[in-house]
C-alpha cells in the first residue's frame, strides 16, 4: 500500500478483552489434586507397560487400557532438562506479561513419572542433567490441589 493511500483513512482495530469464565471438573484426576494437598505426588500406572503418568491418565496413552492403580512418586527426582525464559511471556496464571527469573525444569521422579516445575537454583549453569532434585511445598494450609502447590524443586547434595 502506498503512503498516499495510508493517509486517506485511519485503519481501525477493535479490542475485545474476552473473559469467558470456565470451571473444569477434574473427575478421576481429583485423586492427584487431593494428593498434592497432602504433599504427595501420585501418578497413574499402566497395567500393561508399568509406565507411570503425570498428569494422570484414564487410559495408558500407549496401550489404551484403563489405569486404575495409583503410585506415590516420592519427593525426589532427576533433572531431565532445564531452561530460563529470557524475554517477557504471558504468565498463564495471571495473564500478565512477565519474565521469570526462575528456571523451569523437567524432572523424572523416583517413581518413574515425569513432571515440570520451577527450580530454586537461579543459575542455569549449575543445573546438570541427572542431578538430584527435591520438591519444596507450599505450607499445607495454602495448598489448593494445583500444580503450583509445589513451589519449586531444590537441588540436593549427593
Amino acid at each position: 500500500m502506498s503512503t498516499d493511500q495510508k493517509q486517506e483513512q485511519e485503519f481501525i482495530q477493535f479490542r475485545y478483552p474476552r473473559q469467558v469464565p470456565y470451571q473444569h471438573s477434574l473427575g478421576y484426576q481429583s485423586k492427584f489434586a487431593n494428593g498434592l494437598k497432602q504433599g504427595r505426588i501420585l501418578a497413574t500406572k499402566c497395567p500393561v507397560c508399568g509406565r507411570c503418568t503425570i498428569p494422570p491418565r484414564i487410559v495408558c496413552p500407549f496401550h489404551h487400557v484403563k489405569q486404575t492403580e495409583w503410585v506415590d512418586q516420592g519427593q525426589r527426582g532427576r533433572l531431565v532438562s532445564a531452561f530460563k525464559i529470557n524475554f517477557p511471556m504471558f504468565d498463564p496464571r495471571t495473564r500478565e506479561l512477565q519474565s521469570w527469573e526462575t528456571p523451569l525444569v523437567a524432572v523424572e521422579l523416583e517413581g518413574g513419572a515425569s513432571m515440570d516445575g520451577w527450580c530454586s537454583e537461579l543459575d542455569t549453569s549449575k543445573l546438570k542433567t541427572g542431578m538430584l532434585l527435591e520438591a519444596v511445598w507450599r505450607p499445607e494450609e495454602e495448598r489448593q490441589g494445583r500444580g503450583d502447590d509445589i513451589l519449586h524443586w531444590k537441588p540436593v547434595e549427593e
Binding site: V20, S25, H64
Partner: protein, 385 residues
C-alpha cells in the same frame, strides 16, 4: 454414491444437566470403549482396526485447549491419524464418510463430547458472531433464533400453540428414552405459561442448558462393515449447505440452506417423497419453532406448512413420519454432540434397538445437524438398514 459407508457401532452416555464428578476424559473413554467392545476393533496401524479417529468438539466450550490436544490419547491419537471437526457432530459424520469414500481410510471412529456445565453457552455463542458488527449489539444464537422465530411465525401465521405442541411431543417421546434428560409431561398451556426467554421463544421452548454428555460411532467401508457386524446401517446420502452469517441477508422465514442440503442428500439417496419414504427423522431443533421450519426445509411439507404438519399428528409416534422419537434436542442434548447423536438415534432405530421409542419396522431415516446462528450451516444425512 461411489461405494457404501456403513455404521457398525454406536454408543452414547446418559445426558444430564451436570456431570460435575466426571472429567471430560471419562465421558470420552466410556463411549470409546463401548463402540470398540461392540466391534472387537482396536486402534491399529496396519488396516486391521481403527484407521483414524475424528472428534467433533468446540474448544470454546471446554476452555480454549489447542484443538483438544490434551485429550487425543483417549481416542488412540498417539502416533496415529486423528482429525478434529470444530462444528456440529453431524459434520464429523459427513467428513468421516468422505475419508472412507476417498479410500483414505477403511474404518473411522467418531466421537463428540461436551460439558456445557463448564462454561456459559450464550457467551460462547456470542463469540461465534461477527466480532465487529453483531457482537457489538449483543446478538447471540438465542436472540438470532428469536428474530427467526418472529419472522417465520409472522410470515406464515404459525401460532404459539403449534410451536408449543413441538415441546409437548418431544418431552413425551423423551419419556421412552432412558438417556434423555428432560422427560417431564407438559401440556401446551404449561409451555405457553412458561417465562418468556427471548420473544417469542419461551423458556420451555428452548433447549435446556446446560447439558453434559457424549456419543461415539464407528464407520466402515462396505466390505469391512459386512464383516464387522450383521446389522450395518448404510449412509445413503449426504448434503451440507452454508447460508449467510448475516441475519439481514437471509430470508429467515425460509431455510434455503437446509432445503439445498436436503436435496443434495436426497438426490444421492434417490429420495423423491421424504414424508412417505422415511420412517423417522431426527432433527436438530434447539427451539420449538425450528422443528416446524426444519420440516419444511427437509421437504416433509411445503413452505409455511410446518404448523399444519404438527397439527396433523403425522409427526407423532405412530404417525406417518415420527420426528424425534428420542425426544430431540428439546429434551436435552449438548450442542456439537447433538448432530452426531441424531445419527446415533437413527442407527438404533434402523437396527431395531431403540427400545420403548422404537418405530416399528423402520427402514429409512434422516438425520439433520445444525451449526451457527438461526441454522446457518445445515447438514443432512440419510440412512437405511
Amino acid at each position: 454414491m461411489a461405494g457404501r459407508v456403513g455404521i457398525v457401532a454406536v454408543a452414547q452416555t446418559k445426558f444430564e444437566e451436570r456431570k460435575d464428578a466426571l472429567h471430560s476424559a471419562e465421558l470420552m473413554y466410556d463411549v470409546t470403549r463401548d463402540v470398540l467392545g461392540q466391534t472387537g476393533l482396536e486402534f491399529k496401524e496396519d488396516r486391521t482396526g481403527i484407521d483414524c479417529t475424528t472428534v467433533a468438539y468446540f474448544d470454546l466450550f471446554g476452555g480454549p485447549a489447542g484443538s483438544h490436544m490434551h485429550l487425543g490419547y483417549i481416542v488412540g491419537a498417539y502416533e496415529r491419524e486423528d482429525e478434529r471437526v470444530t462444528s456440529d457432530g453431524a459434520l464429523a459424520v459427513y467428513y468421516a464418510a468422505m475419508q472412507i469414500l476417498s479410500g483414505h481410510c477403511d474404518v473411522v471412529l467418531l466421537l463428540s463430547h461436551n460439558k456445557e456445565s463448564q462454561c456459559q453457552k450464550n457467551q460462547i455463542e456470542w463469540v461465534g458472531m461477527d466480532p465487529v458488527y453483531q457482537r457489538r449489539v449483543g446478538i447471540d444464537f438465542v436472540s438470532a433464533a428469536a428474530l427467526q422465530a418472529m419472522r417465520y411465525t409472522t410470515k406464515y401465521g404459525i401460532t404459539p400453540e403449534q410451536c408449543a405442541k413441538v415441546v409437548v411431543k418431544s418431552r413425551k417421546n423423551a419419556g421412552n428414552n432412558p438417556n434423555a434428560m428432560c422427560c417431564d409431561s407438559l401440556t401446551v398451556d404449561d409451555v405457553l405459561r412458561s417465562a418468556m426467554l427471548c420473544d417469542p421463544i419461551r423458556i420451555q421452548e428452548a433447549k435446556p442448558v446446560p447439558v453434559d454428555g457424549a456419543c461415539a460411532l464407528i464407520l466402515a467401508c462396505e466390505e469391512k462393515a459386512k464383516k464387522i457386524t450383521d446389522k450395518p446401517v448404510w449412509i445413503t446420502g449426504l448434503g451440507t449447505c452454508y447460508d449467510h452469517h448475516e441475519l439481514g441477508w437471509r430470508e429467515l422465514a425460509d431455510c434455503g440452506a437446509l432445503a439445498t442440503a436436503a436435496q443434495r442428500a436426497y438426490k444421492m439417496a434417490g429420495i423423491k417423497e421424504p414424508l412417505k419414504e422415511f420412517d423417522l427423522a431426527e432433527v436438530s431443533e434447539q427451539y420449538s419453532y425450528q422443528e416446524l421450519l426444519w420440516s419444511e426445509g427437509l421437504g416433509f411439507c411445503g413452505k409455511g406448512e410446518g404448523g399444519k404438519l404438527i397439527d396433523s399428528g403425522k409427526t407423532q409416534m405412530g404417525g406417518e413420519l415420527p420426528i424425534n422419537p428420542s425426544g430431540g434436542i428439546l429434551s436435552g442434548l449438548p450442542v456439537c454432540v447433538a448432530g452426531m447423536q441424531r445419527v446415533v438415534e437413527c442407527v438404533l432405530q434402523l437396527r431395531g434397538e431403540a427400545g420403548a421409542r422404537q418405530v416399528p419396522g423402520a427402514k429409512k431415516a434422516v438425520a439433520q445437524g445444525v451449526d451457527g446462528p438461526a441454522g446457518q450451516l445445515q447438514c443432512v444425512i440419510t440412512l437405511e438398514n
